[in-house]
């Protein structure tokens, strides 16, 4: 019997059960994250292609300030993942106040991360790095660096906005713990991508 026949006859569910026994919202988030992983993957491959093909790729990142800044950013982002876990767990337990505190802590840490990221950008811009030029070597360095870190920064800023909207909706009762869980998945993915950007974009281009 087809789905429409089932719906017309009024017997049985008109909708199939959600695949993998998870809510469709969560499955959609997972599918989005997988496609986003392919996007970041292709950007990092493109960066690797250009870096390998250039014999004068710049290595501008000094221990201080760049590596120290990147380590601080990593610690901030990992801490925000931990607070997001707290928010997801508190929301599932129905503790709205606690979930709200965790969500706003995550937002604060996300804002700090974005601030540190922008400070890193301005440091490089002060040294003369632009999208298509820099004082040291291959002009494509700026294009790849700003594109990859910019896309990640966009994800962080988008995540901060999404968490703020969900924190407000959840506190008012218009959104559920499921919404907190899906935005949490997204936030952890942003953290995961950073784990690949740091070694490939920063640590392979250290100034010695």
């Amino acid at each position: 019997m087809s789905e429409s026949e089932i719906a017309e006859s009024g017997h049985g569910p008109a909708m199939e059960a959600s695949p993998f026994a998870i809510p469709s919202r969560k499955l959609a988030t997972w599918l989005f994250l997988i496609s986003d992983a392919a996007t970041f993957g292709s950007m990092l491959y493109g960066y690797g292609y250009l870096r390998t093909a250039s014999n004068d790729w710049p290595t501008p990142f000094k221990f201080n300030p760049s590596v120290v800044n990147v380590l601080t950013m990593t610690a901030v982002l990992l801490t925000s993942s931990l607070t997001m876990l707290g928010a997801m767990d508190s929301a599932k337990a129905g503790d709205k106040a606690k979930a709200g505190r965790f969500l706003w802590s995550t937002i604060l840490l996300g804002v700090i991360f974005a601030g540190l990221h922008i400070r890193e950008w301005f440091g490089l811009i002060d040294e003369g790095v632009r999208l298509l030029q820099n004082p040291w070597g291959s002009p494509l360095f700026g294009a790849t660096f700003f594109s990859i870190t910019g896309l990640h920064l966009l994800h962080v800023i988008g995540g901060v906005v999404a968490i703020a909207v969900i924190a407000r909706g959840y506190a008012r009762g218009s959104l559920t713990a499921g919404h907190v869980e899906t935005v949490g998945l997204y936030w952890h993915f942003v953290d995961l991508v950073w784990m690949f950007i740091v070694p490939l974009v920063y640590l392979l281009n250290l100034s010695r």
């Binding site: 392919a38 990593t74 876990l85 995961l192 640590l203």
Partner: protein
């Protein structure tokens, strides 16, 4: 799962993952300052990044607690896509040495 089944102590439960990820980040920086060849450094850093990603996927994103079907539907596909992108390297090395295509 009912709300009462959530411990409310999830941060304590996953604190070891947090410290493991921090340790991996510090280890990556340490390795980056050792005198490895670029290829060896790349392999080591990628291996550590994959370890970190596995921890984040399993514990932070709770993929370990989802059905095996979800894992099999998502992760092999993305790994396959990323592996297929490796086709670009021969051309990248060709450009480095400025060798024209064979006629």
């Amino acid at each position: 799962m009912t709300p009462s089944q959530y411990s409310g102590n999830v941060i304590e439960k996953y604190l070891w993952v947090y410290f493991a990820l921090l340790l991996l980040a510090v280890l990556e920086v340490f390795i980056a300052y050792q005198h490895f060849s670029t290829q060896a450094l790349l392999a080591l850093l990628l291996a550590l990044a994959f370890c970190g990603a596995t921890l984040a996927l399993r514990y932070f994103m709770h993929l370990a607690q989802e059905s095996r079907g979800l894992f099999l539907a998502l992760i092999p596909a993305v790994i396959f896509v990323l592996l297929m992108m490796n086709m670009i390297w021969p051309d990248s090395f060709r450009l480095l040495h400025m060798r024209p295509f064979a006629h």
